[in-house]
């Protein structure tokens, strides 16, 4: 599903070239649940952003479901991630001005799905996540765990093949974190959603089927 070949990314800072990613080679098959581990600054987020096509890289090849991402134009790329990838963030990143329901609905708006259909999809997911009662609340009225739940629901609503989660439990307490990880596990095993998460925590990493260790932008063997 994902094939990264010799991916390298750098930034220039005051005459020095700082490498964020160095020669990353990674293959992810459909249905995998991968945890990327590493200390702060090791390049976990950058790697996720590259995979999520939110960030560019300087060298290497990236194939996503058979499409050469490095050769695609911005428009096609956004089309590609819009329909296949869902994002979950450490800081949830919900739109404060929208209700839970509307937040979850947002990705569907950008995929030209009919209003009635949208309603059905959002209702379904609200039901699955057991947050029907909260659908008219605004993010600020929810706890962190609940907000992240909404974040995951939003990531899933457009039925992506891949979920990218950047420290999804970083802002949560351990119990809330566990719930989210259980949810990921379930999504992976029952629905076959491919998941790549970046995390600090060994315990969370253990939920995955494969662990990749990053250090200074390199995959540790």
């Amino acid at each position: 599903m994902i094939e990264l070949k010799h991916i390298t990314k750098w930034v220039n800072s005051g005459g020095n070239r700082i490498f964020l990613l160095r020669d990353i080679n990674l293959t992810v098959n459909e249905g995998e649940f991968i945890s990327i581990m590493g200390p702060s600054g090791s390049g976990k987020s950058t790697l996720l952003n590259v995979i999520g096509m939110l960030d560019e890289f300087n060298e290497g090849e990236y194939n996503f479901i058979g499409q050469p991402v490095h050769e695609l134009k911005e428009k096609h790329r956004s089309q590609l991630y819009k329909s296949h990838i869902g994002f979950v963030f450490q800081a949830y990143h919900l739109i404060d001005e929208l209700t839970v329901y509307e937040n979850i609905e947002t990705p569907l708006l950008y995929q030209n799905i009919k209003s009635s259909e949208r309603q059905a999809i959002v209702a379904d997911i609200l039901d699955r996540f057991n947050i029907v009662g909260k659908k008219d609340l605004f993010p600020t009225q929810l706890s962190g765990g609940q907000q992240q739940l909404v974040g995951v629901a939003r990531a899933l609503v457009a039925k992506p093949k891949l979920i990218l989660a950047d420290e999804p439990t970083g802002n949560l307490n351990s119990k809330q974190g566990e719930e989210i990880m259980e949810l990921f596990k379930k999504l992976n095993t029952e629905d076959g959603v491919t998941i790549i998460q970046a995390t600090h925590s060994e315990r969370n990493a253990a939920y995955g089927s494969k662990i990749i260790n990053l250090l200074d932008g390199r995959i540790e063997k």
Binding site: N49, L54, D55, K75, S78, Y81, K82, S83, F87, F89, H93, L94, I95, D96, E97, L98, E102, E105, T106, P107, L109, Y110, Q111, R154, A158
Partner: protein, 796 residues
């Protein structure tokens, strides 16, 4: 999608109620008052365009060339209209209007003076499109003593909803039959009337010879056939002088040339003498258009500034939307959508405000807009385009700039520190300051000039002088004599003088005289009228040489002239100089017996010209110089005496100071509009500034807090922030000063009497802007500086 956009717009509105209101308020005020100006300007531009054939209607005007002077006149001779139609195939129709003096009309008990009365040919209805309520255009003005009256007049004399056709109105000597009623002549006409009398009424007898090419007394209008070129037509008119007028005028060395003037250009472009109505001015059209434009611009700038300043807060939302799959296009649409919604809210409120404020605007502008005149497709379209324009301009920057950001960098927080384009905002603020300053300076200069005109020494005393006019059309001299003697016995009255005109009255004559000079006799057109021996006393006009008129013996022998005349002819010894009537070979002459100190016969727009006064007792305009004190009871006494002598005439009086000052009404009116609008502009600018400082200080809250922790005082922080705005105001004054100087320097040139440009308006205006800006900026920065640093830093 659209629902989502609206929803977000609405929720954002609610979230920042205060700023949203500020935003909408600024925009609303801007739009509302720009609309008023636009209405004003379009009304001025649309003068006389309501006639169906407006683009083919021309007024024929006369360019009269005398030996030492040219007169460009609106008036023509009586035979011109019919001759044009007969001689030129280009002329489809022609017609005449001839002004009638103020006349008293009666229907039974109801009697009123009518001033807007013209004699007219029935053919004018084939030229102009006046709407008939009753009667028939083709026959209305055929018979002598037929009148066509306006609807207002019909209601005034005959009551509402009663047919007026067939009824009659009386004057002292005549009976007029109403043959038709028309809708009131629209106020945007260069020629307005309440009543038309058939021209045949006065073309009987020998008073008005319809075949005489010697007298210029009527307006001639022609309807040219479609496709006729006016310039070519003008050329064809040139030989008319040789054919019809040479015989009369050549002996006086007078030449006459006609020109066809498009009626649609009269109001704003005509510079002829004898216009029937007050003209507009193209320069005011430009000024008002500029003000409207700038006002709208300032409101838009505010809007843009506030939106961009606020956009930093929207950054997160933009980032998330991009990550969740929104394309740039969709974001652009969203921001423009929000902006358009806000703009249209403002437009709707403005439309409502316009209707609410219409009466006030009418009263200061002297226009008579109604809901009906404003509800036109053009104006609706205008409103829509204003909404579209402000919405698009206001929303374009955030829409295009913000949506271009990469989601990753936004979500990492890069944008909130960049906070949009600070330099762009600075430029916009400087622009606003500049415009406000220019308007402030101009308003100031205009006002000080107008008040200077009020204070200037006119050479006569206009205070406490009341004028009454006896206007019966008959010789009333004996009655006036007796009445004046009674006036003189009143304790409230100091002096009673009479004249055929008075300063500011306008009804002087310009006559050709043959004047004695050091180089023999020369011909010259000189302003002249008749006064009695008390005229100068009642008006406080001083005699600087020789004597005032004294006795009947002065009639036809003596004249009094002004200093300007002495100067014009270079007289070393004015007394005894002779003046003759041209062409008079009898050897009769009049002699200068006195020289009066120069006084302003016309308004202060005109320099003082030579003036020549004849003696005549008991003239029909009476000046009553009153003693200060109980003016009211004096007026009542005067009225009682008036009624005794002229029971048939209503008692009407004027005060000379008001009458004279009425010459500046047009400028005062425009000055008032201008002042109102510059205050509004400054207000809108301040509104914007208030919002802007609120946001910039909010963004700097962290910096402020850290500095406070490091030991900066509140005062130091306030200075740090307001300093920026002071700089901007300073830059603005550097731009504003030369611009304002240029405009005002040119404006003042129109006035022969002006007190020049002083530095004060410039300095004070800059000061006002700086102070207002500082106060506005201080308010928020002080608030920010006073917030406890711990609170801010904890939430960061």
């Amino acid at each position: 999608m659209i629902k989502n956009v609206l929803l977000i717009a609405l929720r954002n509105f609610k979230k920042d109620k205060w700023y949203s209101l500020l935003n909408v308020l600024g925009l609303t005020i801007g739009i509302t008052f720009s609309l008023f100006l636009i209405f004003y300007v379009t009304d001025e531009l649309n003068y006389d365009r309501y006639h169906d054939k407006a683009d083919r209607i021309y007024r024929i005007v006369s360019y009269i060339q005398e030996r030492d002077k040219n007169t460009n006149w609106t008036a023509t001779q009586l035979p011109l209209a019919s001759t044009l139609k007969k001689d030129f195939p280009e002329v489809e129709e022609s017609g005449r209007f001839l002004n009638r003096e103020r006349t008293l009309f009666k229907n039974g008990e109801k009697s009123f003076y009518e001033t807007k009365v013209y004699y007219a040919d029935s053919t004018i209805f084939n030229i102009f499109s006046y709407k008939f309520v009753e009667g028939n255009p083709t026959h209305a003005l055929n018979e002598p003593n037929s009148i066509v009256i306006s609807k207002t007049l019909a209601e005034k004399y005959f009551g509402k909803n009663t047919p007026a056709v067939g009824k009659s109105l009386k004057t002292v000597y005549d009976l007029f039959k109403v043959t038709a009623v028309i809708e009131d002549v629209p106020s945007n006409s260069h020629l307005r009337f309440d009543m038309l009398i058939s021209l045949s009424t006065i073309l009987r007898g020998d008073q008005n010879n319809p075949n005489s090419w010697g007298g210029f007394n009527n307006f001639t209008y022609v309807l040219l056939k479609p496709g006729v070129n006016a310039d070519a037509f003008n050329k064809k008119l040139l030989p008319m002088y040789d054919k019809y007028m040479k015989a009369i005028f050549e002996q006086y060395k007078v030449k006459v040339r006609y020109e066809a003037q498009p009626i649609t250009s009269i109001h704003l472009h005509s510079d002829l003498e004898g216009e029937p109505e007050e003209l507009g001015s193209m320069s005011y059209i430009w000024i008002f258009s500029a003000v409207a434009f700038f006002m709208m611009l300032i409101a838009c700038i505010n809007y843009m500034n506030l939106t961009t300043a606020r956009s930093a807060r929207r950054a997160k939302e933009i980032g998330i939307r991009k990550v969740t799959g929104s394309s740039k296009k969709q974001l652009v649409l969203q921001f423009l959508g929000e902006s358009l919604v806000t703009a249209f809210v403002a437009v709707l409120i403005s439309a409502f405000l316009v209707l609410l404020l219409l009466p006030y605007f009418n009263s200061i502008s002297g226009k008579s807009f109604t809901l009906h005149t404003l509800m036109q497709p053009f104006n609706t379209l205008l409103l829509l385009s204003i909404g579209l324009f402000t919405g698009l301009v206001g929303g374009s920057y955030p829409a295009f700039y913000l949506s271009g950001f990469k989601p990753v960098s936004i979500l990492k927080g890069a944008l909130s520190s960049a906070s949009g384009n600070v330099n762009l905002r600075r430029i916009l603020v400087v622009l606003q300051f500049t415009i406000s300053m220019i308007m402030l300076i101009c308003t100031w200069v205009v006002y000080s000039q107008l008040s200077y005109l009020q204070k200037i020494d006119l050479g006569f005393n206009k205070e406490q002088v009341m004028t009454v006019t006896v206007n019966t059309g008959e010789d009333e001299r004996h009655k006036i004599y007796a009445m004046n003697n009674e006036f003189r016995t009143m304790p409230g009255i100091k002096n009673v003088g009479t004249g055929s005109a008075y300063p500011g009255s306008g009804n002087t004559n310009l006559n050709l005289f043959t004047v004695q000079t050091n180089n023999g006799f020369v011909d010259k057109g000189i302003e002249t009228y008749q006064v009695d021996e008390n005229f100068m006393g009642s008006l406080g006009i001083k005699i600087v040489k020789g004597r005032n008129f004294s006795t009947l013996a002065d009639t036809l022998h003596s004249i009094v002239v002004n200093e300007a005349m002495v100067k014009h002819f270079g007289w070393d010894e004015p007394l005894g100089k002779r003046v003759k009537f041209p062409g008079d070979t009898s050897g009769n002459y009049v002699e200068v017996v006195g020289v009066m100190k120069d006084f302003n016969q016309k308004s202060l727009y005109n320099p003082i010209a030579p003036l020549l006064l004849f003696y005549s007792p008991n003239n029909n305009i009476i000046q009553l110089k009153m003693n200060p004190g109980n003016v009211k009871s004096t007026i009542a006494q005067v009225e009682t005496v008036w009624k005794k002598y002229f029971p048939q005439l209503p008692f009407e009086y004027k005060f000379l100071d008001e009458d004279f000052n009425s010459q500046y009404v047009a400028d005062q009116k425009r000055g008032k509009i201008f002042a109102a609008f510059s205050i509004l502009t400054i207000f809108i600018t301040c509104l914007g500034l208030l919002g802007l400082t609120a946001f910039t200080t909010q963004q700097k809250q962290k910096e402020i807090s850290i500095r406070r922790v490091l030991g900066a005082s509140t005062m130091e922080m306030v200075i740090l922030i307001t300093k920026n705005y002071l700089w901007l105001a300073l830059i603005a004054s550097f731009i504003a000063f030369p611009v304002a100087y240029y405009f005002m320097h040119n404006w003042l040139k129109v006035f022969p009497y002006n007190d020049g440009l002083s530095l004060i308006p410039f300095i004070v205006s800059a000061f006002v802007i700086v102070v207002t800006a500082t106060i506005t900026a201080t308010y928020h920065s002080a608030k920010a500086a006073l917030t406890k640093p711990a609170v801010v830093l904890k939430t960061e």
